[in-house]
Symmetry: C2
Subunit: 158 residues, 2 copies
């Protein structure tokens, strides 16, 4: 049991070391003007992204996402933009357009290039089983965005 707990903690540590997670933490810390979260660890800040399988099952199939959740989705894509920016030097801005019923679209642009675009659905179910899953999902989008930049570098710089 102790061994399992340890390896989960190790997995979390590894996840927190990914460039995407560092960007996400930076976004949270930047918004903490009054230091209300100063005593929280980085991993604790991101705990609200974790939705276990049981929690997910308990959610209704259709539901309107609450503002906190939409803010979380927004932070997720801003962290991707920030990571791309840190790695490529290109300003990558996310733009999200959400219907209040929980569907919408998010795009990330750099210069005149759309480096990532996705339709969002069932946003009320947004969440990840572990910090590792969150890190992986974020890094996957970062990689896709960077591949698109590599394909059209002159457009990303336009």
């Amino acid at each position: 049991m102790a061994e399992t707990l340890m390896s989960a903690a190790e997995a979390d540590d590894k996840a927190m070391g990914s460039p995407f997670m560092k960007s996400l933490v930076a976004i949270y810390r930047a918004e903490d003007s009054y230091g209300a979260w100063e005593s929280k660890s980085d991993a604790e800040l991101l705990e609200e992204f974790i939705v276990t399988a049981e929690e997910r099952r308990a959610k209704p199939i259709i539901d309107d996402p609450d503002p906190d959740l939409l803010d979380r989705v927004d932070k997720f894509y801003r962290a991707i933009g920030l990571t791309v920016e840190r790695e490529t030097g290109l300003m990558a801005s996310p733009m999200m357009s959400m219907h209040w019923e929980g569907f919408g679209r998010v795009i990330l642009t750099a210069g005149k290039l759309v480096i990532f675009a996705k339709s969002l659905r069932d946003v009320h179910r947004f969440g990840f089983e572990s910090l590792g899953d969150l890190a992986e999902a974020g890094m996957k989008v970062v990689r896709q965005a960077r591949e698109t930049i590599d394909t059209y570098p002159e457009v990303a710089r336009a």
Copy 2:
């Protein structure tokens, strides 16, 4: 006097003939599921875009735009997307992200290409002095978008 009125009417007719204005009218007509605007002429439909110099002067310098006005701005950019689509065969989607205080950003994309991007400010003052001005403003964005497509055609088709 009669001559001036006639030439204003002629100018309106000419404006209504532009591809942008035809797209804008098409968007209004498509939303009129119950035929409430059937008796209105095309020019009458677009009357709400007209803000005279006096009306503009009467507006406060800072104000929150009302939902009808935001809807008008949205229709303006959707009509640009539709015009680009009709002229190039490329699906051009607008995406608008507005803060309720009246500033924001609008972008139009085709494929992986950002064909137009603009920061919006003072949206509560959105409007045009005449149908001619409206047509001209719309066609100007259409031309800019098409020039961007001509510069990076393979990205617009990606």
